[in-house]
C-alpha cells in the first residue's frame, strides 16, 4: 500500500494556449483508491487521459514505477480505462467484448485460458450467463459492468475510471459504488477515479484530490478534506459550508461578526484576516437569550432527516441543518462549540463561496446541467 506507482511531475497541459493543467504534481500509491474530484473543466479528465496515454503533457513528466512513460502509447501501458459512456464494441457480444484485450496479447494466450479468465471476470462483476447477449440489449448498469470486466480481465496494475457512474440513476449508483470498492479490494489494484460528485468521492476513496482550474487545491483522506479544507473552494465544493470573514485575535480565538469565539485552530499571526468555515450540522439552535449570535429565519425546507433553514445574521445568510422546526420569520439564537469552527488562510477564493443568499434546491440541478455540456469540451 505504501509503494509509489505513478508520479506526475510538473505536468502542464495546454490546448491552443488555453492552460488546462497548470504545473501538476501528484503521486499515486500502489493499491490505492484515489479520486480526482472537481467541477467540470477543472482538468481531472485531462489528468486521467495523460495517465492513460491518450494525451502527452505539453510540459512535465509522467512516471510509472519509476520509468518515464511520456511517449509510451496507450496499448503498451499497464493501465486500463473504463470510459464515461462505456465505449463497448457494439458489434461484439458480452463475451467477445471482455475477451477483446486478451486476444490481442502477444505471445498469444491459449484459448482455454482466455475462456477461463473471461468467465472468471464475468463472475466477479456478477454477469454470469450474459456471455452471448448483445451489448446493446443490456441496461446501463450491466454495460458498465461489462466495461469494468473488459478492463480488469487484462490484469492491469491500475484501473482508470472516468465518471463511470455518471449515466446511472441514483439507486444503481449507490450499489455500484459498493461494488467498485469491493472489486478494488478483491483485485488488490490501484483505482484512479474521476468524478464531480463529492459524495461519491468521500464514500469510496482512500485519497481525494480536489482540483479546480487545472490546479490541485487539496490532497488528503476524505476525512481531512471534509474536516480541514484548505481554502474556501474546497470547503464549498465538499459538502455544505458557511464561510464568513473573520480575524484571528490569538491562538484559539477567532472573531466573527465582531464577537470573539473559542476555536481549536492556531498558528496564525495576530489579527490576521481569515476565512472561517462553519458546517451547517455543527450549529446548535438555542434560545435567543443563550445564543452566541441571534439571527432571523428566512426560509425552511424539509429534507426528511432534517430541516434546511436559512438564517440571516446581519445580512449574511447561513445554512443550518437542524431537527428542530423553526418557522420562517422567527428569531433564533445559535451556539457553536470550538470544534465547529475551521479557520483557513485567505485565498483567491475568499468571498466567492459560502453565502446562502441565493440558496435554492435548483442549485444542484443547475450544476449537473453544466456538467453534461462540458463533457465534450473536456475531451478535445
Amino acid at each position: 500500500m505504501s509503494k509509489e506507482l505513478i508520479r506526475l511531475s510538473d505536468c502542464t497541459m495546454a490546448f491552443d494556449d488555453e492552460i488546462v493543467l497548470d504545473n501538476l504534481n501528484l503521486y499515486i500509491k500502489d493499491e490505492e483508491f484515489l479520486t480526482l474530484l472537481g467541477p467540470s473543466g477543472c482538468g481531472k479528465t485531462t489528468t486521467l487521459r495523460i495517465i492513460g496515454g491518450f494525451l502527452v503533457p505539453t510540459k512535465g513528466d509522467v512516471f510509472f514505477d519509476g520509468v518515464r512513460i511520456n511517449d509510451v502509447p496507450p496499448h503498451k501501458r499497464k493501465v486500463n480505462t473504463v470510459f464515461q459512456k462505456y465505449a463497448l464494441v457494439p458489434h461484439l457480444n458480452v463475451y467477445d467484448n471482455v475477451a477483446f484485450g486478451l486476444r490481442l496479447v502477444k505471445p498469444k494466450i491459449d484459448k482455454k485460458e482466455i475462456d477461463q479468465r473471461v468467465r472468471e471476470m464475468l463472475e466477479v462483476v456478477s454477469l454470469k450467463g450474459f456471455e452471448h447477449r448483445a451489448v446493446s440489449s443490456l441496461s446501463g448498469g450491466q454495460q458498465q459492468r461489462v466495461a469494468i470486466a473488459r478492463a480488469l480481465v487484462n490484469r492491469p496494475k491500475v484501473l482508470l475510471l472516468d465518471e463511470p457512474l455518471g449515466a446511472l440513476d441514483l439507486r444503481l449508483r449507490k450499489d455500484m459504488q459498493q461494488e467498485l470498492k469491493r472489486i478494488q479490494q478483491q483485485m488488490g489494484i490501484t483505482f484512479i477515479y474521476v468524478t464531480h460528485d463529492q459524495e461519491e468521492a468521500l464514500a469510496m476513496s482512500d485519497t481525494v484530490v480536489v482540483m479546480n482550474e487545472g490546479i490541485i487545491q487539496q490532497i488528503g483522506s476524505p476525512e481531512d478534506i471534509y474536516n480541514e479544507p484548505k481554502n474556501a473552494f474546497v470547503a464549498d465544493f465538499i459538502g455544505e459550508s458557511n464561510i464568513v470573514d473573520g480575524i484571528m485575535r490569538a491562538d484559539g480565538v477567532v472573531e466573527i461578526f465582531g464577537k470573539k469565539f473559542e476555536c481549536l485552530d492556531s498558528g496564525f499571526e495576530k489579527d490576521e484576516p481569515v476565512d472561517v468555515v462553519i458546517r451547517p450540522e455543527d450549529v446548535d439552535i438555542v434560545d435567543t437569550r443563550a445564543g452566541q449570535l441571534i439571527g432571523l429565519v428566512t426560509s425552511v425546507t424539509f429534507k426528511g432527516m432534517n430541516y434546511d433553514i436559512i438564517v440571516d445574521f446581519k445580512g449574511f445568510k447561513w445554512l443550518i441543518q437542524t431537527s428542530d422546526f423553526c418557522p420562517a420569520g422567527s428569531k433564533i439564537g445559535i451556539h457553536i462549540v470550538p470544534d465547529g469552527f475551521h479557520v483557513m488562510k485567505k485565498s483567491k477564493y475568499s468571498g466567492l463561496y459560502g453565502d446562502y443568499s441565493s440558496y435554492s434546491d435548483e442549485y444542484e440541478e443547475l450544476s449537473d446541467a453544466d456538467e453534461a455540456e462540458e463533457g465534450s469540451e473536456d475531451e478535445k
Partner: protein, 271 residues
C-alpha cells in the same frame, strides 16, 4: 377526420404523376421486345433485339468498359472517400463544415462543367506528360466524381461512432491501425458499402462526364446508345436502355433495403 371522397382527386393526381414519370420507360421496355423494326406498332413478342445486341461487338466492348470502369472507380473511390471522411471527421470543428461544403459543390455542379473541366485538365496535362484521353482518364474522372458520394455516405456513420471507442480499443492493446480495422471499420461498414453501391450506380449512369474524358477509342454503354441515336434509331437502343434501367433499378432497390434495415436496427437499440 377527413372525408373518403376528398382523397380521390389526390390519388388521381398522384397516379397521373407516376404515369407521366414511368410511361416512357414502360413503353421503352415493351418495345424492346417488339418483333419488328417499328417503334410505334406492336407486332409480337421477340428477343431478337437482345440477341442482336449481344452479337454487336461495339455494344459488348462498351458493356465491358462500363462495368470495369464502374467497379474500379467504385472500389478506389470508396477507399479514398472513407479515409477522406475520417480525416474530415477528425478536423477541428470550425474546419469541418467548410470542407464538407467544398465536398458538396461537385455534387451540385453541372455535369457538363465537370466534364469539360476534367477534359481540359487531362488534355493539358496529357500534352505535357505524353498521354491521351482513354480508359485511364475515364477512370480518373469517375473516381473524382464518386469520392464525394462516398464521403457523404460514410460521414453519418462516423458521427454515430462513440468517440471513445478508438481510445478504448487502444487502451485494450490495439495499435491505431488495429483499432481502425477491428473497431471502426465494422462500425462504419454499412456506410462504406452504401457509398460503394452509390458510386457504382453513379458510374454506370454517367454519360456527360464520360463523353468528355473517354477520348475517341473508349466508349461506355451510355456513349454507345447516344451514338446509335445519332445514326439510325433501332429497337436495339430500347433493349440496351432497358437493360441499363433494370440494372440501376436493382442497385437502387438494394441500397434502399439496406438503409431501411439499418434504420430499423438503430431504432431497435435501447438508448
Amino acid at each position: 377526420m377527413r372525408d373518403k371522397k376528398s382523397r380521390v382527386p389526390g390519388r388521381i393526381f398522384l397516379a397521373l404523376i407516376y404515369i407521366f414519370l414511368y410511361a416512357p420507360i414502360i413503353v421503352l421496355l415493351i418495345f424492346s421486345f417488339n418483333s419488328t423494326n417499328s417503334r410505334t406498332v406492336w407486332s409480337g413478342f421477340s428477343l431478337r433485339w437482345y440477341e442482336k445486341l449481344f452479337n454487336d461487338d461495339m455494344v459488348i466492348n462498351a458493356l465491358y468498359t462500363t462495368i470495369s470502369v464502374s467497379i474500379l472507380a467504385a472500389i478506389i473511390a470508396t477507399v479514398f472517400g472513407t479515409f477522406a471522411a475520417i480525416g474530415i471527421f477528425n478536423l477541428r470543428r470550425r474546419w469541418q463544415s467548410p470542407v464538407l461544403t467544398l465536398n458538396n459543390i461537385p455534387l451540385m455542379n453541372a455535369d457538363i462543367v465537370t466534364g469539360v473541366s476534367l477534359c481540359l485538365l487531362f488534355v493539358a496535362s496529357g500534352t505535357i506528360l505524353g498521354f491521351g484521353l482513354g480508359f485511364i482518364t475515364l477512370l480518373l474522372a469517375h473516381i473524382s466524381f464518386n469520392v464525394p458520394y462516398v464521403i457523404l455516405s460514410v460521414m453519418p456513420k462516423l458521427k454515430q461512432l462513440d468517440n471513445n471507442l478508438v481510445d478504448a480499443a487502444q487502451d485494450l492493446g490495439c495499435t491505431w491501425l488495429q483499432a481502425f480495422f477491428k473497431v471502426v471499420v465494422p462500425e462504419i461498414k454499412p456506410g462504406i458499402v452504401n457509398g460503394a453501391l452509390i458510386a457504382f450506380t453513379m458510374s454506370i449512369d454517367d454519360f456527360i462526364i464520360s463523353y468528355f474524358t473517354a477520348g475517341s477509342g473508349t466508349q461506355t454503354l451510355s456513349m454507345v446508345i447516344f451514338s446509335m441515336t445519332r445514326k439510325r434509331v433501332t429497337p436495339e437502343i430500347n433493349a440496351v436502355s432497358s437493360l441499363m434501367f433494370v440494372f440501376v433499378l436493382i442497385l437502387l432497390i438494394i441500397i434502399n433495403i439496406r438503409s431501411s434495415v439499418q434504420d430499423k436496427k438503430l431504432r431497435a437499440k435501447p438508448a
